[in-house]
Structure formats: structure tokens, C-alpha cells
């Protein structure tokens, strides 16, 4: 098994880990850093439960090899709302009741943030397009769309 040491920025702070080159980013985040917000479900990059931001871009943490995080800025859902105040996207998800079991929620929250960073006033088609890579088996989509609209409003306020 090939081991490598990676150094990267994790949620704003420096991080170092000795990892196997076969290990995915989500596995390393869980096992080495006790960050469980990104979680593996389909293991094929199709459900979005493992979404992590790498250099500001959403990736599927189950397919993204940890070794490629070397030198990158990695941000997980735990970095949002770490202080007293939640991120407006998180607030909007709570206010719109936009989750049930919550397993997919961190992925939707991160993807919504990326959407609103790029398109502060998204159309319904853009919401559908950005969130089509995230699955919610509880079927909370109508409330999630409502949360995205609410978050857009909150960010402008």
C-alpha cells in the first residue's frame, strides 16, 4: 500500500495527514479529522452526499482521491455556521423545512452555496440544474427549492 503525506488547508486551518494513495477524500475526512458531514452513500459520485469544496469548487468526496487535496483549500459543511450564526443557506434550509432524514443535507447546503456564489438570483431552471447531482430519497425537493429562493433573499439582505 502506497502511503503519502498531504498538506492542505482544511476549513481555514493547516492540516497534514499520512494517507494511502487509494483513499478517498471523504474517507480521510472521516477517519483522520472526525468530520462526518460529507458522507459516502452511492460511492459513484451520483448522489451528492459526499460533497466537499476543493479550492471553492464542489467535488464528490467519494471519488476524489485524498492525495489530490495536497496543497488545496478544502472546505466541508462543518466550516459553515461554525460560530454562533449559521450561514444564510443553513438558516434558509431550517426555515423552509428543507430536509427530513438529513443525510443528504450537507451536500445540498454546499451546492446551494456554490450556486448562489455564481448566480445570486437563480432561475428555477438554474436551481434544478445545479442541484440535479444531489439526491434526496425523502423527496424534500419542493422545500429545498423554497430554501434556495429564501437563501438568495437572505444573502442579498
Amino acid at each position: 500500500m502506497n502511503a503519502r503525506t498531504i498538506r492542505f488547508t482544511l476549513n481555514g486551518g493547516p492540516a497534514t495527514a499520512e494517507i494511502g494513495t487509494h483513499q478517498s477524500l471523504v474517507e480521510v475526512l472521516q477517519q483522520r479529522f472526525d468530520l462526518f458531514g460529507a458522507r459516502e452513500s452511492c460511492a459513484q459520485g451520483l448522489c451528492g452526499c459526499c460533497t466537499v469544496l476543493v479550492d471553492g469548487k464542489a467535488v464528490s468526496g467519494c471519488l476524489f482521491l485524498a492525495v489530490f487535496a495536497d496543497g488545496a483549500h478544502v472546505e466541508t459543511v462543518e466550516h459553515l455556521g461554525a460560530g454562533e450564526r449559521l450561514d444564510p443557506v443553513q438558516e434558509a434550509f431550517i426555515e423552509a423545512g428543507a430536509f427530513q432524514c438529513g443525510f443528504c443535507t450537507p451536500g445540498f447546503v454546499l451546492m446551494t452555496r456554490q450556486l448562489l456564489d455564481e448566480k445570486p438570483d437563480p432561475s428555477d431552471a438554474e436551481i434544478g440544474h445545479y442541484l440535479s447531482g444531489n439526491l434526496c430519497r425523502c423527496g424534500t425537493y419542493p422545500q429545498i427549492v423554497e430554501a434556495v429562493r429564501l437563501a438568495a433573499k437572505k444573502r442579498k439582505a
Binding site: V77, G97, F99, G102, F103, G139, Y141
Partner: protein, 763 residues
């Protein structure tokens, strides 16, 4: 006992989920996240044969691999659990396959290693050879097949209506349920019209996004099981039975569940991890992959033959239903589905003569159990498609035809049970009003045709089942609720807190609800069949009332006048002289119930309450591609009085979206019993792009007598009508009738071509 809702009270308020902050920050606790010191991971080696005798099992190479702690087979399991067969209805499922395998994907051996990658790599080195046996896959063939899945039937003894099956051989029928009401034969003989149709449903999967996961930490004298389970009490009882230990040596704990939908019921991985931990003497975690979920539990495929006698005036005078349920290789809860859903197979209609034959069948497919509706969606698919076909044949508007035959409160259902608090009529009328059914409908132009359809279904609750809860008032006046209901996303923690808060005059947000832990939380039958709001809700209300009475008694013992507004903290301080003490209120609830007569299926009291759900759709069919776009989907349900209106509404829309997947595209494909699409790449579940353009959900004003504050269950109700409403709307749009799910573009297009006398050749 009467209870009233105070203005601005806790019941009826859309309290945000208690765990909302934890869920949006990624900090909610799931068993998925759990690790224990010294823990091993287990990876399962599975059968590649649908039915075969195990001739050779060679684990030597796996055992020799660097980093492998051990490889466990059925023989090893028997050293710690001599009779390792489990199941809620039949003790038919071995922890690991013994002598033979009965479906592709059945667990045969397990590799244990500290590194899950090593365990997985080693599992690939195991070799098994089988003597192939004839297999049976189709439920219709299973009725008469000479391929027999189980040599001898082993009913668990829990259910009296299974006892007659003990020791039966040479059959695949795991339960036959029969209902006979009125003179069906005479009614058919006298009928003006007779209609008969056969409808089928496909095998589908729950797909909770948190796949099955269980972790056991065993010592020779006790075991703790951390498991993503909907039924911790059942797990404890069944593991205690397998180990021949008292219940108090088995502790079962759950956390939040990343979805359940009926998958995580009874025993799934729990018996396996207990055996593994006892053998390895270390904690063992087994976490399934998405693919492995396809080999664990599914929803019954079914074939439903329905026949109706109709009088000149459009009244249905008799109905015969024959339902075959494809239960797969192990019974799981299939026999309960067969009976508990079977008795409603004639639909929410007032039909004087009804006969029902419902059969649970073993086949060589992955086992089938409960999936959000407990068999009801399969039944409603058939009887509401049939209802529309009959109405069309008679030239009667489908809404008018339903109104004419509707089962109303005060009238007997097919079992003979008199309907009460079942707002079937109100639900149907509200749906019709929302759809503006009497207005002219735009039928589209060019190749895209528009249509609309409705469907309504009903479901009985699972009875008789017990829930027990306790409410603790601490010395500072704060409050903790202990109940075994598992919050898997349905919002039960929040709803139960609201009930406590209502009784004790607190804010719901101030009530702490502890996760189920069988050492701490009292018995609860299980979180299934939309039973919790009613059953556990009542137990919780009783527990809170008991605590309230004890607080009053404490106040009286201190000489305080009734209604004194002394704070709870001060009350405790006066009693104990310092911040000390606890008041514990308990509540236990089991509704009344009369089991159906074994030969006639009749009973005066079939269920404590009825769930009602109706769906209406408007859609477009592209006649050149068969593509269906649902433009509007309307769900109306009877939820009794909603404890938390927003969560109820989300349950309704969510259930209908899940059922939309089962209706339009989800299907497990098989080749000789091997699932060929066991991944989310090949088995598609609904995403953002699959939604109807508009979804509306509402519940009618209603009150369930005997329910806590008038409430009842609602988690399944919006699954009932979706499939037939869509098939009815497709028929309305393009004049073709689909008799089998799913309603894929290919199926729709083939039907359009066939109807135009220009059938499409096979691909």
C-alpha cells in the same frame, strides 16, 4: 378522557425539527459515523447462484491475506448461535447461508479486518461451488412450481394465523389469507356487467441514502448493538432469543437514521454483527455499500387479478380479488403484508359481496418486506386502475363512479368493521375541488396530448401493537422524553416533544428527546406502518399526563393549593431541600383489536384507525416518444389533526415523490435472479429534473377519536394514489391502458403504437 387544544398551544404548531441545526451543520449523529476502539470491519462474500447446494467453500486464500483477522462461515456462527435462523414471521433466514443458497446476493461468509479495504479485497479471494437447483422467480409460477425454496416452513410462532403452516413441505406459499363477505357468486351471476383485469407491479428498492449499518460490541455475557434500525425493541428480543440470553444482557441503540422507509425493520445485519463480535471478541461494524442494499430487502413485486360485478345503475355489487406477493427467498414481514394489506384489496368502496385471496410466496429473489405503504400502493395501483377502466366502459365520469360507490363512515368495510373517522368522502371531494374537475380540460395540441386522472386509497394500521414511554421531570423543571420511536426523517422526535409540551405547558423546543436505547427507553413495537403518531403519541401523552398528575400530587403534599403557580424547580427544592429529585411519568398504550376469523377474514374491529390518501394528476404525453411529464400533482390526505402541519405536508409531498419514482422508472432488473442494475447509475431514483412542474399537498380538517389530540399516522398516505392516478391520466390523454408498472416512455410508446395497430417490434 378529553383533551383540548389551548390557543397558541404546542400541538398544531409547525415547530422546526428539534435536530434542525445538527442536520444543516453536518453534525447529526448517525450510526454510519460511529467507530469504537479496536473495531473490525466485516465485508460479506455473497452467493452468485439463485438456488444451489453449497458443495465447496474455500476461504484459505482470504484467511492467508495480510491484515485479515479472520474469515467467518456458517459453521463458525453455529459455535456461538447454535440455531442461527431469524425473522419476524418465519425463522427461515440463516445468519450466513447453511447448506444451500436461495438467492443471488445471499451472505455466505464474512472477512474481518481492521482495514475495510483489506476485508473487501480478501472477500474477493473466497471461492464457492454450488450444485445448481431449479429456481423460481415469478410469483405466479411459484404457486405451482416444483422448485421449492424452503424444504420445511418454520413459522416464528409470533402470529397465530401462521401456526397452521408449521412443518409444511412442498410449497412456496408462506401465507394464504382469505376473506369472504356476502354471497359473491350469486352477485356475479346476477350482475349486469362483469369486468376482470390483471395488474402487475415490479420489484423496487427503498434506497435509504444511509445504507444499512450495524455495529456490535460483545462480551461473553453482554452485547451492545449500535444499529440503524427502525425496531430496536424487536432487535433486542430476537437477539436474546438467538443467544438464549435474557433481554437485559442485550442493549440496542439507534441514532438518527439516514432514511428507513421500511427497509431497516426487524433483523437485517444485527444478528450477523453479534455473531461476528462474539467470535472475534472485538467490536465489529458491517456497513453495506449501495450495491449490497439491492441484496438485502426490497418491495414486493405483485400480480393482482381483480373482478367486479356491476349493476345497471353503476353500483359495484361484488368484487373478487386474488393477490400474489413475490416475497423473495426469505419471508421477512411479507406474510403480514399479505394479510394486513390483503383485507383492504377491494378498495375504499361500499361493496356488499367481497372475496379476497392473498398469497405470500417464496421465490429465489432478494427478500421483500415493507416499503412505505406495506403493500397498499400495489393494491391501490390495481383497484384504482380497475375502477377507472370500469367507469370508462360504462361511460360514467370516473369521479361520479367513485362517488356512487364510495365507502362512507358508518358503513361496513369488507371485513365487517364499521368505518369511523375515515374521511374518504371529504378527501375525494377536496381533491376534485382542487383539480376543478367539472371545468373543461385543455387536451393539448399536436403530438403532445394532455390528460388527468385521480385515485384514492386507504390503509388500516398494524394492530395490535404496543408502545410505552416515560417522561422525566428533572429538579430544575426541565424535561426529557424516553421513547423508542426512531426518527428516520419523519419528524417523530419533534412531534412527540410537542405532545409532551402540550400536556405540560412547555415549549416543544425545551423538551429533550433521547435516541432509542433499549437499556433506557421502554418497549415499542417498531417504527413502521405510520403507527407511531397514534400509538406512541398516545403513550407519550399518557406519560406526560402521569407526570403532570405527580407534579400536582407533590404540590398537594407540600400544602399548596390546586393551580398554584410555583415553579417546578421551587417545588423540588421545597420537597428535597436542594436541587434534587426526579418525577417520572409513564404511559403504556395498546389499542383494542379483534383478529380476523381464520376462514372468513371477518372482524368487527380490524384497525384502530384508517389512513386515507388521494392523488390527482395532470400530465402531458409526447405521442412521438412516450415521454410523460406530470405538470401537476395534487395530494390530499386525512391525517386526523396534524401535530405539526409543516412536517405533515412535507411527509405528503415526499411520499408522493418517492412513489413517482416507483411509478415512472424505478425497477430492479434481473437475469436468472441476478440483479443487473444494482447501483444508482443504473437504478435511477427521482432527482430535481424528475419532479412534476407543480406539487400541492394538503390534509382535510379531521379528527381521529382515540388519537393523541385527534392525530393519526400520515407517512404513507400520499403513496397510495400516485401510480393509478398517472396511469388513469395517461389513458385520458392518449387512450391507452398500461397494466404493469413502471410506466416508462418505452411502455407508453409501445402501447400507443399497439393501439394504432402498428406495434413496435422487440428490441
Amino acid at each position: 378522557m378529553t383533551t383540548t387544544i389551548s390557543p397558541g398551544g404546542q400541538v398544531g404548531r409547525s415547530v422546526p425539527r428539534l435536530e434542525a441545526r445538527a442536520k444543516v451543520t453536518g453534525r447529526a449523529e448517525y450510526v454510519h459515523n460511529l467507530r469504537l476502539p479496536g473495531m473490525l470491519y466485516g465485508k460479506i462474500f455473497r452467493s452468485r447462484t439463485a438456488h444451489g447446494r453449497i458443495r465447496r467453500l474455500d476461504v484459505a486464500a482470504a484467511r492467508a491475506m495480510d491484515g485479515v483477522q479472520s474469515v467467518i462461515t456458517a459453521e463458525d456462527v453455529r459455535r456461538v448461535i447454535p440455531d442461527p435462523y431469524y425473522g419476524p414471521a418465519f425463522h427461515d433466514q440463516p445468519i450466513l447461508a447453511i447448506d444451500k443458497v436461495r438467492y443471488v446476493g445471499e451472505p455466505v461468509a464474512v472477512v474481518l479486518a481492521a482495514d475495510p479495504h483489506i476485508a473487501e479485497a480478501a472477500a474477493h479471494l473466497i471461492v464457492a461451488e454450488y450444485e445448481e437447483l431449479p429456481a423460481v422467480f415469478d410469483e405466479r409460477e411459484a404457486m405451482t412450481s416444483t422448485a421449492i425454496v424452503h424444504e420445511v416452513l418454520r413459522p416464528a410462532g409470533t402470529f397465530p394465523d401462521l401456526k397452521h403452516l408449521e412443518g409444511r413441505t412442498n410449497t412456496n406459499i408462506a401465507l394464504d389469507f382469505h376473506l369472504r363477505q356476502g354471497d359473491v357468486e350469486a352477485a356475479f351471476a346476477a350482475a349486469e356487467h362483469v369486468f376482470e383485469h390483471t395488474f402487475r407491479t415490479q420489484q423496487v428498492l427503498h434506497v435509504p441514502l444511509e445504507p444499512f449499518v450495524s455495529l456490535a460490541d460483545a462480551t461473553p455475557s453482554s452485547v451492545t448493538i449500535h444499529t440503524a434500525s427502525q425496531s430496536p425493541s424487536f432487535v433486542r428480543i430476537e437477539i436474546a432469543r438467538l443467544l438464549r440470553w435474557p433481554e437485559n444482557r442485550v442493549r440496542v441503540k439507534t441514532l438518527h437514521l439516514g432514511g428507513g422507509f421500511g427497509a431497516k425493520l426487524y433483523i437485517k445485519l444485527e444478528a450477523l454483527v453479534v455473531a461476528l463480535s462474539l467470535l472475534a471478541r472485538r467490536p465489529v461494524k458491517v456497513a453495506l455499500s449501495m450495491e449490497e442494499q439491492f441484496y438485502t430487502i426490497t418491495k414486493h413485486a405483485s400480480t393482482f387479478r381483480i373482478k367486479s360485478a356491476v349493476a345497471k345503475d353503476g353500483r359495484v355489487t361484488a368484487r373478487h380479488c386474488e393477490v400474489l406477493w413475490n416475497g423473495g427467498a426469505y419471508a421477512d414481514i411479507g406474510p403480514r403484508v399479505t394479510q394486513k394489506s390483503g383485507f383492504t384489496a377491494a378498495g375504499p368502496y361500499d361493496i356488499p359481496a367481497v372475496s379476497i385471496d392473498s398469497y405470500a410466496l417464496y421465490t429465489n429473489l432478494p427478500p421483500a418486506g415493507a416499503l412505505r405503504g406495506f403493500g397498499i400502493p400495489q393494491l391501490v395501483w390495481a383497484y384504482e386502475s380497475h375502477t377507472d377502466l370500469v367507469a370508462r366502459a360504462l361511460g360514467i365520469d370516473p369521479l361520479t363512479f367513485r362517488r356512487k360507490n364510495l365507502l362512507r363512515n358508518g358503513r361496513p368495510q369488507a371485513t365487517g368493521t364499521i368505518m369511523r373517522d375515515a374521511e374518504i368522502e371529504a378527501v375525494l371531494e377536496r381533491l376534485a375541488a382542487r383539480l376543478d374537475w367539472n371545468r373543461p380540460f385543455d387536451r393539448g395540441a399536436g403530438p403532445v396530448k394532455r390528460g388527468r386522472g385521480i385515485a384514492i386509497g386507504f390503509k388500516a394500521s398494524i394492530a395490535p401493537t404496543t408502545s410505552i414511554a416515560s417522561v422525566a421531570i428533572h429538579a430544575d423543571g426541565s424535561c426529557t422524553l424516553s421513547c423508542g420511536t426512531v426518527d428516520m426523517g419523519q419528524g417523530s422526535d419533534t412531534a412527540m416533544a410537542q405532545i409532551v409540551a402540550e400536556v405540560l405547558n412547555l415549549d416543544a423546543e425545551a423538551v429533550a428527546v433521547i435516541h432509542p436505547d433499549t437499556d433506557v427507553t421502554p418497549y415499542d413495537m417498531a417504527t413502521l406502518g405510520s403507527r407511531s403518531t397514534y400509538h406512541m403519541g398516545n403513550a407519550v401523552r399518557l406519560a406526560a399526563e402521569d407526570a403532570r398528575d405527580k407534579i400536582a400530587a407533590l404540590a398537594a403534599s407540600l400544602g399548596l393549593p390546586p393551580g398554584s403557580n410555583l415553579s417546578l424547580a421551587e417545588l423540588f427544592r421545597r420537597k428535597y431541600g436542594m436541587q434534587a429529585g426526579t418525577i417520572i411519568g409513564t404511559g403504556s398504550f395498546i389499542p383494542s383489536y379483534s383478529p380476523p376469523d381464520h376462514s372468513t377474514g371477518l372482524t368487527e374491529n380490524a384497525t384502530p384507525f384508517w389512513m386515507i390518501g388521494a392523488t390527482g394528476v395532470e400530465l402531458e404525453v409526447d405521442t412521438e416518444t412516450g415521454h410523460v411529464q406530470v405538470t401537476r400533482l395534487v395530494n390530499v390526505a386525512d391525517a386526523g389533526r396534524a401535530i405539526n402541519p409543516r412536517i405533515v405536508e412535507t411527509q405528503l409531498s415526499g411520499a408522493s415523490i418517492m412513489q413517482l419514482g416507483f411509478t415512472l422508472f424505478e425497477r430492479m432488473n434481473f437475469d436468472k435472479g441476478q440483479v443487473t442494475n444494482a447501483s444508482l447509475a443504473d437504478y435511477k431514483i427521482p432527482g430535481m429534473h424528475d419532479l412534476p412542474l407543480a406539487i400541492e399537498s394538503e390534509f382535510v380538517p379531521a379528527e381521529q377519536h382515540g388519537g393523541p389530540f385527534g392525530a393519526k399516522g400520515v407517512g404513507e398516505s400520499a403513496t397510495f394514489g400516485v401510480s393509478p392516478a398517472i396511469a388513469n391520466a395517461i389513458h385520458d390523454a392518449v387512450g391507452v391502458r398500461l397494466m404493469a408498472l413502471p410506466l416508462t416512455p418505452e411502455a407508453v410508446y409501445r402501447a400507443i403504437r399497439a393501439a394504432a395497430d402498428d406495434p413496435l417490434g422487440e428490441a
